[in-house]
C-alpha cells in the first residue's frame, strides 16, 4: 500500500447561501485557500473528485458546471460521486493506490436550503415501497431515537449531553451555524420538534462546500510540516430496508472501523452524526474509548452541509494532527437513512 496523507483542507458553511446551486462562488475561494496552504497550483493535482447531488441542486449536471471553479483547461483527470465528498476522497485514495495519480483534490458541495431537505432525502429510500410515502429524514431518525429511548439503549439526558457538547464546542468554529454555551438542562427545556426529537437533536439545514488535498507521502507539498497520514480507510453499508435492520446498531459503521484497522489509540474523533442519538450509536460501533475527544468542531449538529459534512469531518480530524493537538485522529462520514452507510478514515502523525 502507498502511504497517502491529508495535506490541505478548506471549508465554507452557512445557513442559507444566496447563490447558485453549483456553489461555484464558494468553491473558487476554497480552492484559492488550498493553493495558499500547499504552495501548489492546479498543475500539481493529478486527480480531481467531487461529491454532490442534482436532486439537491434542482438542475441536471450541476457537478459539471461546478468544474468551472477548477480551471479544467488543459483537460484534467476528474470523477464524481453522488455521495458525500468523503466517498470522493475514498475514490481518490484508491486512484493514488493504483499509481495513476500521486496527488488529488477532493471536494463536496450542496445547497440544502434550495428545497425542503428532509423531504428531498426521501428519494434515497426504496423507490417502490418507501419513497411513495415520502418518509422524511427527521421522522425516520425519530423512529430510531424512540426505539433506543424505550429499550434503554440511551436516555434523553445522554442525547442532551451530545447536543450541549456539540453546541458548546462549536463556539470555536467560525463556520458553525448553531453554537453557544449550552447545558444539558438548556437542551431538555426545548420543546419537541418531531417527538421524540427536539430541534437541536437534528442537524441544521446547512449550505456549504469543502475541499481536501491528499498526496502520496513521497509527493508531499513543501509546506506540509506534519502530514496526517491515512493509516486506514474503509466503508460499508447495511440493508436498505429499515425493517430488516436493528436500528439500535450500525453494523456497517463497525465494519468500516474494523476495515480501517480499528480505532485503538485514537485521541480525537470527528463523527458525522446528523442526529444526537446517532453519535451514541457510532461511539459504540466504532469502539471509541470514553476519554476520546468527540467533535471538537461541533460536528454535524453545529453544521451539516449535505455532500461535504463527511469530508469536513476528515478535514477537521486531519487539522488536529497538523496543529500538534493529536497524534492519531479519526474522521467518519455517514450516508443514507438512519446510519445505513458509513466510512471511517484513521490518520496518524507519521506512518
Amino acid at each position: 500500500m502507498r502511504d497517502v496523507a491529508v495535506v490541505g483542507f478548506a471549508q465554507r458553511q452557512t445557513r442559507a447561501f444566496d447563490g447558485s446551486p453549483n456553489c461555484v462562488e464558494l468553491l473558487v475561494p476554497i480552492l484559492h485557500e488550498l493553493w495558499e496552504q500547499t504552495g501548489w497550483t492546479k498543475a500539481d493535482i493529478g486527480f480531481w473528485c467531487s461529491g454532490s447531488s442534482d436532486y439537491l441542486a434542482g438542475r441536471s449536471f450541476s457537478f459539471v458546471t461546478a468544474i468551472d471553479a477548477l480551471g479544467a483547461v488543459p483537460p484534467i483527470s476528474e470523477s464524481h460521486v453522488e455521495m458525500d465528498g468523503a466517498w470522493a476522497l475514498y475514490e481518490a485514495w484508491l486512484k493514488i493506490q493504483t499509481g495513476e495519480a500521486d496527488t488529488a483534490l477532493v471536494y463536496g458541495f450542496g445547497k440544502s436550503s434550495a428545497s425542503t431537505l428532509r423531504r428531498t432525502l426521501a428519494l434515497q429510500l426504496d423507490p417502490y415501497t418507501l419513497t411513495p410515502l415520502w418518509p422524511d429524514t427527521v421522522s425516520i431518525a425519530g423512529l430510531q431515537a424512540r426505539l433506543g429511548l424505550e429499550r434503554g439503549a440511551w436516555d434523553e439526558k445522554a442525547m442532551a449531553e451530545v447536543v450541549a457538547r456539540s453546541r458548546s464546542n462549536a463556539i470555536g468554529n467560525e463556520y458553525a451555524v448553531r453554537r453557544g454555551e449550552t447545558s444539558i438542562d438548556d437542551v431538555l427545556a426545548q420543546e419537541m420538534f418531531a417527538d421524540p426529537l427536539r430541534r437541536w437533536d437534528c442537524a441544521p439545514v446547512t449550505d456549504g462546500a469543502a475541499a481536501v488535498v491528499i498526496a502520496a507521502t513521497d509527493r508531499l507539498p513543501a509546506t506540509c510540516r506534519r502530514p496526517a497520514v491515512i493509516v486506514g480507510i474503509a466503508h460499508s453499508t447495511d440493508a436498505a430496508d429499515l425493517g430488516l435492520r436493528d436500528l439500535l446498531r450500525s453494523p456497517s459503521a463497525a465494519a468500516a472501523a474494523s476495515g480501517a484497522g480499528g480505532t485503538e489509540g485514537v485521541q480525537v474523533a470527528e463523527l458525522h452524526a446528523p442526529f444526537s442519538h446517532q453519535e451514541l450509536i457510532l461511539r459504540r460501533e466504532l469502539g471509541l474509548a470514553p476519554d476520546i475527544a468527540i467533535n471538537p468542531s461541533g460536528g454535524a449538529l453545529a453544521a451539516n452541509p449535505m455532500f461535504s459534512a463527511g469530508l469536513i469531518r476528515i478535514g477537521e480530524a486531519a487539522r488536529r494532527i497538523w496543529s500538534d493537538e493529536a497524534d492519531r485522529t479519526l474522521g467518519h462520514a455517514t450516508s443514507g437513512a438512519a446510519l445505513q452507510q458509513n466510512l471511517v478514515c484513521v490518520m496518524e502523525a507519521s506512518a
Partner: protein, 328 residues
C-alpha cells in the same frame, strides 16, 4: 423572478418526473396483494417473514421466492410524530410515522398512523390497516394505519379478501411520482446578465488571466479557475458558428419545423451560445452568416434569455471561416 438591488435573482422551480418501473416477481406479488387488500410477506432464509418482502435475502443474497400472507393489523414498534406533514405524505393532518409489526410478520413495516394527537400514540398499541377506496397496485393502496380500538374511518368494513393464498401477480409495473419544489437562485453573474437582458443589453464578463470574454457570464473562468471581472456591454450582433435544422416534432415544441437552432458567437465574445435563427428559410442558413438579435417588445422583456426572441440575418457578407474556426 423577483429582484432587489444587488441580490441574486430567485425563481420558484418545480421539477416533476414520474419513474415507471417494472416490478419483478417479488414486488409484483406484494403490490398485487395490496390491490386486493392483502399484505404479503417474503420468507427469508432464516425462516423469518419480512414485510415488505425484499427481493433478495439479506443474509444469503439469494432471490426471495416464497411468499406468505400476514394480517393487516399489528402493533406499533416505534413511532415519531409529524406535526407538519410534507406534501405527498400519507396524511395531510398531523400523524405518526411508525414501524408496525403486523401479526404473522417478523419484521416491521414503515407507514403512517392516523392517530389525531401524539397523546394517542404509544409503543405497543394495536393498529389496523385503512385501505384506500380505489386501489391501483401501489403502496398507497394501504392508505395508512388507524388505532384498532376505534370505528373504521373509511365507512363500513369491506369484505375480507376472498383468496386465502397469495394473490396472482396482476400488477407488474409501478409508477413513483416525484415532485420537488425549489427556490432556484441564479449566480451573481447570471443575475447581472438577466438584469441586463431586461434593459435590452447583453452583458459579458472576462477572465483577468486569459482575457476570454464569456456570454452569458460565469462565476469563474473554466480555463483558469479565477473569478471573472466586472460586466461590460457587448454587441447584439454576431455570427452563426454551427447550426442544425430541427425537423423532428417533440413535446412542448413552440415553432413549426423546420427551423434552425444555432450557436451564435457575438462580436467581441469568445464563447458561443445556443439560440434560434428565424426570419430566413432554414435551408439558407450558413456557417459564418452574420446575424442580429431580435428583441421582444419592452413590455414583454424578462430576466430570461427568451427576452431575445431570436436572431435574424443582417445581410452583411459572411465571416471568413478562419475567423471562427477555433470556436467550433
Amino acid at each position: 423572478m423577483t429582484s432587489t438591488a444587488e441580490a441574486v435573482l430567485h425563481q420558484p422551480l418545480t421539477l416533476e418526473f414520474d419513474y415507471t418501473r417494472s416490478l419483478g416477481p417479488v414486488l409484483s406479488q406484494y403490490l398485487s396483494g395490496l390491490a386486493a387488500r392483502q399484505v404479503i410477506g417474503g420468507v427469508l432464509s432464516d425462516g423469518r417473514i419480512a414485510v415488505p418482502p425484499p427481493e433478495y435475502d439479506p443474509l444469503t443474497h439469494a432471490p426471495v421466492t416464497r411468499m406468505q400472507p400476514v394480517a393487516d393489523e399489528g402493533s406499533v414498534v416505534t413511532w415519531s410524530w409529524v406535526a407538519e406533514p410534507l406534501p405527498g405524505q400519507p396524511l395531510e393532518r398531523p400523524f405518526a410515522f411508525a414501524l408496525v409489526l403486523l401479526d404473522g410478520a417478523d419484521t416491521p413495516l414503515l407507514h403512517a398512523v392516523d392517530a389525531g394527537e401524539p397523546e394517542t400514540m404509544r409503543t405497543g398499541m394495536r393498529v389496523r390497516a385503512r385501505w384506500a377506496q380505489e386501489r391501483t397496485g401501489s403502496v398507497r393502496d394501504l392508505a395508512c394505519f388507524e388505532p384498532a380500538g376505534t370505528a373504521p374511518a373509511s365507512g363500513p368494513a369491506e369484505e375480507p379478501p376472498t383468496s386465502a393464498g397469495p394473490s396472482p401477480a396482476s400488477v407488474t409495473v409501478g409508477i413513483t411520482p416525484v415532485r420537488l419544489a425549489y427556490d432556484y437562485a441564479a449566480s451573481p453573474e447570471e443575475s447581472v446578465f438577466g438584469r441586463g437582458l431586461r434593459e435590452g443589453r447583453i452583458l459579458a464578463q472576462s477572465c483577468p488571466v486569459c482575457h476570454k470574454v464569456y456570454v452569458p457570464p460565469r462565476g469563474a473562468c473554466p480555463v483558469d479557475g479565477v473569478p471573472t471581472q466586472a460586466p461590460f456591454d457587448v454587441a447584439d450582433t454576431g455570427i452563426v458558428t454551427t447550426f442544425c435544422i430541427v425537423n423532428v416534432p417533440f413535446l412542448g415544441q413552440r415553432i413549426k419545423p423546420p427551423y434552425v437552432s444555432a450557436y451564435v458567437l457575438l462580436d467581441g465574445a469568445d464563447i458561443a451560445f445556443l439560440h434560434l435563427i428565424l426570419g430566413v428559410e432554414a435551408s439558407k442558413v450558413r456557417m459564418g452568416m452574420r446575424v442580429r438579435a431580435v428583441w421582444k417588445p419592452e413590455a414583454e422583456r424578462s430576466y430570461s434569455m427568451e427576452t431575445i426572441s431570436h436572431f435574424e440575418p443582417t445581410g452583411e457578407p459572411d465571416a471568413d471561416f478562419e475567423s471562427y474556426r477555433r470556436h467550433l
